[in-house]
């Protein structure tokens, strides 16, 4: 049980860290562009929100399999623990991008230009101005990604399987206990997920409400 919990935490942590930079780049692109390409990018990364997670897992299984686009270069990643992080990452990415986009939309592009104008490179201006000003949205997005990854079940069980000690995270373990009629173990696992998810979500909500307060204060002082 501890093993499954730790595996889920590890999966969620790796997925969140791996997603951070790509999600930031996609969100930056989406905030600055609203043409046809941006529409398609947004649609493509948002698809996992609209699909049954099982379908996402199925697509991943095909993508990383011998008959997929990678062909004989497929890394044989299916049914291993990295597959859990990939499944969790793909399913969580749209949520992370959405939260990042909300955070980045708050940053006045002229402030970033002001930093560039004062001698900062693009990277430096992002670090010194964009990130600190979008920090609540960024942190909220990372927490949301972590929570969603920690809770991931459907895509994971198809793409990574449910192998105890290898690819059995907390949700899969819970599923196995319920299937076997072992309700007391299942309840313990449910309690653990409620505590971890609840804490992460509470921090997330606090960050979002802080962001709202700040926005309200700013528009009040502008007006």
């Amino acid at each position: 049980m501890l093993e499954a919990t730790l595996l889920s935490l590890q999966t969620a942590l790796i997925a969140t860290i791996a997603m951070a930079v790509p999600a930031f780049l996609i969100a930056t692109y989406l905030v600055r562009n609203n043409g046809r390409v941006a529409f398609i990018v947004d649609l493509a990364i948002s698809m996992p929100l609209a699909l049954p997670p099982v379908a996402v897992g199925f697509v991943l299984l095909w993508f990383f399999g011998a008959t997929g686009p990678l062909g004989s270069f497929n890394p044989g990643i299916a049914f291993t623990w990295p597959a859990m992080s990939i499944a969790a990452g793909v399913v969580s990415l749209p949520l992370v991008v959405r939260a990042f986009t909300a955070g980045l939309a708050e940053v006045d592009p002229r402030l970033v230009f002001a930093a560039r104008n004062l001698g900062a490179s693009q990277l430096r201006a992002t670090w010194d101005v964009t990130l600190p000003l979008a920090r609540n949205g960024i942190a909220a997005g990372l927490l949301l990604g972590f929570v969603r990854s920690f809770a991931e079940f459907g895509a994971t069980i198809v793409f990574a399987g449910n192998i105890p000690g290898s690819t059995q995270g907390l949700p899969s373990a819970m599923f196995s206990r319920i299937s076997a009629g072992d309700f007391s173990e299942a309840w313990t696992l449910a309690a653990v997920s409620i505590v971890i998810g609840g804490i992460a979500l509470a921090i997330h909500n606090k960050l979002v409400s802080e962001q709202r307060t700040r926005l309200a204060a700013r528009s009040a002082s502008d007006g």
């Binding site: 002229r110 004062l118 001698g119 900062a120 010194d128 600190p132």
Partner: protein, 358 residues
């Protein structure tokens, strides 16, 4: 000398943005040049192009003989190394950094060999030394613009662009910031381009103005020539013309402006203190003889330099040792036979003088 042949700034740029087309070419000398025109004329877009914020569709920009943008040769110098600093209308201070951190930001990114201006001295000069630990949100409008100015000047720029930096300020603060701009220019010799739609600031700062209208150059002329346009516009909706000076409070409580002393009420300002003084052109009268029994305390003898008569107003430029612009009616110009070279007296009341620190 090469520098007399090569203009300080030369540009010829075209940009299409939806319905709007910017197509401007001009050559600026150093010093302060104004870009003047109604809103929507393309003033800010032009500044954005010069600062590298907006890439023109075609054309070139050369600063000090160096090409910083050229569409034909595919030259586009990186934004951060242009050495062209911009001051925005609303300051654009970093809200998460203190005033001190804001000012140090650009200074620290400036190569040590290029640093010519000490931020601390600059802060003292702009009287913002006591604000360094505060956050921008707690600053007043005038303080915010002085900090924004300090932040840009601290990078020792080759050129300073000012995008309506006083548009959101009331008249006193506007005078103060304009006066600081003038002094910064005199003190550090930084060439400036000053964008405004207010003739008064432009007159106080720049000898020449590039006038834009609907994205094209309407004229490039001495600022004084713009007064003729003003005289031909109805009084409703046009700018008042203010006479703006930097002066010093005398021990007797008057204010010395250049070669003249004006009687004012510099309450709260001590002898020797530098102040900005503004007098609206419409608050000044002219007399052909020196009036003896009159309540107005300021009566200065001068000579008319120039008279502009338009459909709706007339303006006389009078040299009393310091130049005053006086607003009149065309009837007054006719009946008093006002023309250049004529001796006159300039009259205004003490209460017509607005005094601001700095």
């Amino acid at each position: 000398m090469a520098s007399s042949v090569v203009p300080f700034l030369e540009f010829d740029i075209q940009l299409h943005q939806g319905e709007f087309t910017l197509d401007v070419a001009a050559q600026f000398e150093g010093g302060i040049t104004a870009v003047f025109g109604p809103s929507g004329a393309g003033k800010s877009t032009l500044l954005g192009c010069l600062a590298g914020m907006i890439t023109p569709d075609s054309g070139h920009i050369r600063l000090d003989g160096e090409t910083i943008f050229c569409s034909a040769d595919r030259v586009r110098q990186p934004l951060q190394s242009l050495g062209i600093a911009m001051v925005f209308q609303d300051g654009m201070l970093f809200p998460h950094k203190t005033v001190g951190e804001n000012i140090d930001y650009g200074y620290n990114l400036t190569h040590p060999d290029s640093r010519r201006i000490d931020p601390q001295e600059l802060c003292e000069f702009l009287q913002i030394g006591n604000l360094v630990d505060r956050y921008p949100v707690s600053l007043s409008g005038g303080e915010r613009q002085r900090v924004a100015l300090a932040r840009s000047v601290a990078t020792s720029p080759r050129l300073l662009l000012l995008d309506e930096p006083v548009a959101s300020l009331d008249i006193r603060l506007r005078n103060q910031v304009v006066s600081y701009l003038k002094q910064i220019h005199d003190r550090y010799g930084i060439p400036m381009i000053y964008v405004s739609h207010s003739i008064s600031d432009v007159m106080a700062l720049a000898p020449n103005a590039l006038v834009l209208e609907r994205g094209s150059v309407k004229s490039f002329c001495p600022v004084i020539d713009l007064v003729a346009d003003i005289a031909s516009s109805t009084r409703v909706g046009r700018d008042d013309i203010d006479n703006l000076y930097v002066g010093t409070v005398t021990p007797t409580g008057a204010i010395r402006i250049g070669d003249v002393e004006v009687v004012a009420q510099p309450d709260g300002y001590g002898p020797g203190q530098q102040v900005t003084v503004s007098i609206s052109a419409s608050d000044i009268m002219l007399a052909l003889e020196q009036p003896r029994s009159i309540s107005a305390r300021n009566v200065l003898a001068g000579v008319i330099q120039r008279v502009e008569v338009g459909d709706y107003a007339a303006f006389a430029f009078v040299d009393t040792g310091t130049e005053f612009v006086v607003e009149l009616t065309s009837e007054a110009v006719e009946s008093l036979d006002l023309r250049p070279g004529k001796d006159v007296f300039v009259l205004f009341k003490t209460s017509s003088i607005t005094i601001t620190a700095g």
